[in-house]
């Protein structure tokens, strides 16, 4: 996430790090590079300019020149300003009214339908709400069908009216339906529209008025360019929305939209979409994001994600097994399943301070574990418990059972043995080096 912006910024700070003597000129140079990095990341030109002016003023005011480590002092100023620019604190949803109505709006292709479903799933499982999805995109071919398919996957009811071409009346009817059927949350998916399309903007204005949503969320693609400013403004003028969902952050976007939108419309980014799976929706924390952009990792989120999947009992068992050298493939498999539930591997590893950069060119795809799982599944229970018993002919059998080569099996076994060592080492205080080895083991 945001790797290339991080890279560029780092270059900008190097100007200060490398020089022993820091002058106003160095700072100006560094600031100029920061501005370029931001503009290249699609941060609105004007905002990039304002931002760097503030940074420059603070850098000179707070005595970066005389700081012991000017580079770090500068990083701190940029980090704080960045968090501020993105909104300071995380903001949740306001769902007090009954039913709570959420309206999704945005350009075509920004991800409204997918994120309506993701949001419903999030509210159902994490907030114990009873959500109803409403299909109001009557224009795009098969949009209603798309929401229905997603609703079915998630076990969430989708309200749709076949043949009704008026989204306003569909939404109004849906709210009635929700009230009489005990749904306490209504999520209204709407058609994508261009901010310059007056008729369509008028329509969503009427829809907004008719259902009076508590939360209107503007859904925007994180890869949007300089136009993000105008689009966000235009939608805000009509809808005065409550917050923003930033989508497709799992791409290699440089995150300009994230840095820009808050300050343009003064509305918080509430959620970010981080993958194609229905679980890939995260609450947005501006300060944590600033840390990540500046390559400081995001340990807090990582720990939170781990805690969600964490089971104290099994962790205690695991730890005991490691110390007794009894950690087997079954346990390994269990861990893989837990990690997989936490989300995209590369993102997870990127949350560890300093790892983002180390992983820049490392390719870890979501299916990273597929072959490993296949090989483990081809082992007998006793082999899994006692990997040392896996001899040549067993390796051959495992290889043909999993469709891999004997060499792959050899690698897995070797990595597994290494990993056991590392884990033991970490238990007795290892650290980042240990983690790195483990990563290499998993590739």
């Amino acid at each position: 996430m945001f790797e290339s912006l991080s890279d560029r910024l780092e270059g900008a700070f190097d100007v200060l790090k490398g020089n022993h003597k820091i002058t106003e000129l160095n700072i100006a140079d560094s600031v100029k590079q920061i501005r370029r990095a931001l503009v290249e990341a699609d941060v609105s030109f004007k905002i990039a300019k304002d931002f760097t002016n503030t940074v420059k003023a603070k850098a000179l005011g707070q005595g970066v020149i005389s700081a012991v480590k000017p580079g770090q002092a500068m990083v701190k100023i940029v980090r704080d300003e960045m968090a501020e620019l993105m909104g300071g604190q995380a903001e949740g949803l306001n769902l007090t009214s009954s039913p709570a109505i959420l309206l999704m709006a945005g350009l075509q292709g920004s991800g409204k339908t997918t994120h309506s479903a993701k949001l419903a799933n999030y509210l159902l499982h994490k907030k114990a709400r009873k959500p109803l999805l409403v299909a109001c995109d009557v224009y795009r071919p098969a949009a209603i069908n798309q929401l229905q398919v997603l609703g079915e996957q998630l076990g969430i009811e989708v309200y749709a009216e076949v043949g009704n071409q008026d989204p306003v009346s569909i939404a109004v009817n849906a709210v009635k339906h929700a009230k009489s059927n005990g749904y306490n949350t209504v999520i209204v998916d709407t058609a994508g529209r261009l901010a310059v399309d007056e008729a369509m903007m008028d329509e969503i204005g009427r829809l907004h008025k008719a259902v009076a949503p508590q939360e209107t969320l503007f859904v925007v693609d994180a890869m949007t360019g300089q136009d993000a400013v105008n689009t966000a403004k235009a939608f805000n003028d009509v809808l005065d929305f409550e917050g923003v969902i930033l989508t497709k952050l799992d791409g290699d976007t440089r995150g300009g939209a994230a840095l820009t939108i808050k300050s343009v419309v003064n509305k918080p980014i509430k959620f970010i979409g981080t993958g194609e799976k229905m679980e890939a929706l995260d609450v947005f924390y501006p300060d944590r994001m600033a840390d990540r952009i500046l390559g400081m990792g995001d340990v807090v989120s990582l720990v939170e994600k781990a805690q969600e999947q964490f089971d104290e009992e099994s962790a205690r068992k695991m730890s005991k097994k490691i110390s007794q050298d009894a950690f087997g493939f079954d346990d390994f498999m269990e861990q893989i399943q837990q990690i997989k539930k936490m989300g995209n591997m590369k993102d997870l590893m990127g949350m560890i301070p300093g790892m983002g950069k180390a992983l820049k060119d490392v390719d870890i795809d979501d299916d990273a574990f597929k072959h490993i799982e296949a090989m483990i599944n081809s082992m007998t229970p006793s082999e899994r418990q006692q990997p040392d018993t896996i001899n040549g002919s067993r390796r051959k059998r495992i290889a043909s059972g999993s469709g891999r080569t004997v060499q792959d099996v050899n690698n897995l076994l070797k990595q597994f043995t290494d990993m056991r060592k590392v884990m033991k080492m970490m238990q007795s205080g290892g650290g980042k080096r240990g983690m790195m080895n483990m990563m290499r083991g998993m590739r």
């Binding site: 370029r36 503009v39 292709g109 071919p141 098969a142 949009a143 798309q146 360019g225 136009d227």
Partner: protein, 317 residues
């Protein structure tokens, strides 16, 4: 400029002008404002032009190139009127958009043995399926036999969406179930096309973020499998880019060309964005020509891209 009348009927030129109205009023006005009332080209004018270009998503590298070209052509502080300066900018920009491999002059397919296979790729939500619908319409109107292949088997209801376009345009759609192997759908589509003697075969694919290695590999597989039916397929790999995407468009193009060797680009949603400037950056920075632009929601609103017409439209010529 009578030169364009060859390619553009009056109607089309009008749609292009209308579709690009926001872009034009933005890029053009910004530049005009930057040079208005100036009689010399000094640092300040250049700075203002630079800002106008960057805020139009032209991108840093191309902007610097344009500014440098401008500097080269005008002696510093030379007295020069606004029209002369605008003309110079027009020439530089339209020059940057020219491409060796060139644009298509009409919706006319090159001659191939068997069907002409066009595979459409891009990140999520750029408008691939809609573009395919419009392409099918345009080529069918030209009298070609078109077959569509619903190889986006991942996104919910993507197959149905293409199906609706098939009905609208009266073009058959080859499909399997959601979740089936896209390469297999592509294979079926090509076989169908060959057996029916179709002229054009357009393959839809699932949107994928270009940094997802395994999904990009999948595209290479689709390509390989298609070659089992039509050896030189795909004849065209069209990357669809969203006109409101910023500098990420360049990264997308680079990643996709590594996976599937894209041969042309379509830039969509240009009617809604004030930043058609991205087309200038794309044409300049990439080795692949822009062939189509989407300037509206109607079936006719997918046009062949003509760099000079585009530039002159931007400059209100």
């Amino acid at each position: 400029m009578s030169f364009f009348s060859k390619f553009f009927t009056k109607d089309k030129k009008e749609t292009l002008d209308q579709g690009l109205e926001k872009t034009r009023s933005s890029v053009f006005e910004k530049i005009t404002r930057a040079v208005a009332g100036r009689s010399t080209v000094d640092e300040e004018v250049l700075d203002d032009i630079e800002e106008a270009l960057i805020t139009s998503d032209v991108g840093l590298d191309t902007t610097v190139k344009i500014i440098e070209a401008l500097e080269e052509r005008v002696a510093r502080n030379k007295v020069m009127n606004q029209d002369e300066l605008m003309q110079m900018l027009y020439e530089i920009i339209s020059g940057l958009m020219q491409h060796e491999r060139g644009a298509w002059e009409d919706f006319e397919l090159p001659k191939t043995e068997g069907p002409y296979v066009l595979m459409v790729v891009g990140v999520n939500g750029v408008g691939k399926t809609t573009t395919i619908g419009k392409l099918a319409h345009q080529f069918k109107n030209k009298g070609y036999n078109v077959v569509l292949g619903a190889a986006d088997t991942f996104r919910a209801a993507a197959i149905e969406q293409l199906g609706v376009w098939g009905e609208r345009t009266g073009v058959p759609v080859v499909k399997q179930e959601m979740g089936s192997d896209p390469a297999s759908v592509a294979y079926d589509t090509l076989q169908h096309a060959v057996s029916k003697g179709a002229d054009l075969c357009i393959i839809d694919t699932a949107g994928r973020l270009h940094n997802k290695k395994n999904l990009m590999t999948e595209l290479s597989k689709v390509r390989r499998v298609m070659q089992k039916v039509v050896p030189d397929a795909p004849h065209e790999v069209l990357l669809v880019l969203d006109g409101s995407t910023g500098q990420n468009a360049l990264l997308q193009a680079k990643a996709f060309s590594e996976a599937t060797q894209i041969t042309s680009l379509a830039v969509t949603k240009l009617d809604g964005t004030a930043k058609g400037g991205v087309v200038i950056g794309i044409s300049d920075q990439l080795n692949v020509p822009v062939k189509f632009i989407g300037v509206g929601e109607g079936m006719e609103d997918l046009q062949l891209f003509n760099p000079e017409a585009f530039a002159s439209s931007l400059f209100n010529k």
